[in-house]
Symmetry: C2
Subunit: 236 residues, 2 copies
């Protein structure tokens, strides 16, 4: 399961628990969905089984975010030890096959980050545009598959929860197609990063297309794996 998918699922679960009038019930529902017994969960959390019981029975009416987070983490960790049964089942269910081939990673920060900090982290060269933009997330998409296979509706999904994000197109040949795709899309990211291309080989049309929508463009030759690893490690 990809980190982005896991995060999305974890957020959904956390959200449901947090917004529930009876968080304990929701907690229990998800623990049982993961087919994890109270004892095993308690063990993994390093607490006594009565603690789990107390939460699920509703003795603690409004558990803190830290507790909820730790429990969800444990659910995923235990599932992973068991071979990721739950994760596997849900990832085929919740995310279409396309997501897998198109979206390599998608993440939202809890705070705005200056684009140049972001670009520096993954060794980017500036192609055009100012560096005064700020972003609150990023999306890494497979350029070719995105353009070939996404319907207009589905294309919107790559924006995650905010358009204030960096769009990273992977394995671009000249960068022209991705910029054209953005040109015809109603939502404009403040920042585009072209992966897998020497800054000097970027198509001359790219800056002209970018300027129309006031988009800052970078290029980077870091590998896709490295980029995802680096970004995931950041404290943003």
């Amino acid at each position: 399961m990809k980190p982005g998918q896991r995060q999305q699922l974890a957020e959904k679960i956390a959200g449901e628990i947090t917004l529930s009038d009876v968080p304990g019930k929701a907690l229990k529902k998800w623990r049982t969905s993961f087919s994890i017994s109270p004892g095993v969960l308690a063990d993994h959390l390093g607490v006594s089984p009565s603690v789990i019981s107390d939460y699920e029975s509703g003795r603690r009416k409004s558990p803190g975010t830290a507790v909820v987070g730790k429990i969800i983490d444990s659910l995923f960790a235990i599932d992973e030890e068991k071979g990721g049964i739950f994760a596997k089942k849900y990832s085929t269910m919740l995310f279409s096959d396309l997501d897998d081939e198109v979206i390599y990673d998608i993440h939202d920060f809890s705070d705005a980050v200056p684009v140049n900090d972001f670009a520096d982290a993954i060794n980017c060269s500036l192609i055009c545009g100012g560096s005064d933009h700020r972003i609150v997330g990023y999306t890494v998409v497979n350029s070719l598959n995105a353009i070939l296979t996404l319907s207009p509706n589905e294309f919107n999904r790559i924006y995650g929860w905010s358009t204030e994000r960096a769009l990273i197109f992977t394995e671009v040949s000249s960068g022209k197609s991705p910029m054209v795709a953005i040109r015809v899309t109603p939502f404009k990211p403040p920042c585009v990063i072209l992966q897998g291309i020497d800054p000097n080989l970027v198509h001359p049309l790219v800056p002209r297309l970018a300027e129309r929508d006031r988009i800052t463009v970078y290029s980077t030759e870091e590998s896709i794996e490295d980029i995802i690893t680096i970004l995931r490690r950041q404290a943003w």
Copy 2:
């Protein structure tokens, strides 16, 4: 903004806050996204402004789920008073146009509900199948639009976060097409409800198709609006 969309967005926000290492920062990020000042939020919550400040500065490291829920509620309520600026912006961004025309409502319970309790609530007549199933959510889809316009990938989305749910098809003519659509779909709901049709007029093929996948089928003549209202009011 539809209740289902609002709920989804609220859950996403709650999830992000709950899973954040620094919930205060996430809280602030969303408050500012809604363009709401600390003072106004405090007023709406009926607390002193220092409370907001304390949360956002991180003095409360792990706020309870109740607090987080109330704050998110207020954000949406204040936004609504202002004409739903934020909701409008985000609903066009996060949900494709299709969602609007196809999915009337989508919701997950915090607990499993017996299908017959569910069916009774919206005045259903049993067409076929047993009543020992349990569901943890429901989806109301416009039958015609779902079948006409959804790509196979998008079709999966109507399942929300669990396949253990009731699928309510609206304005069916005979019920045959929805059952055929389900027949060819890899995920099988335990329960299907055909809306807008007299139980005697349901196509004779429906029970035969349903039995193949062990699906319980009901029909109801309640209006779509009433169904959504009734279900939203339930304590599930």
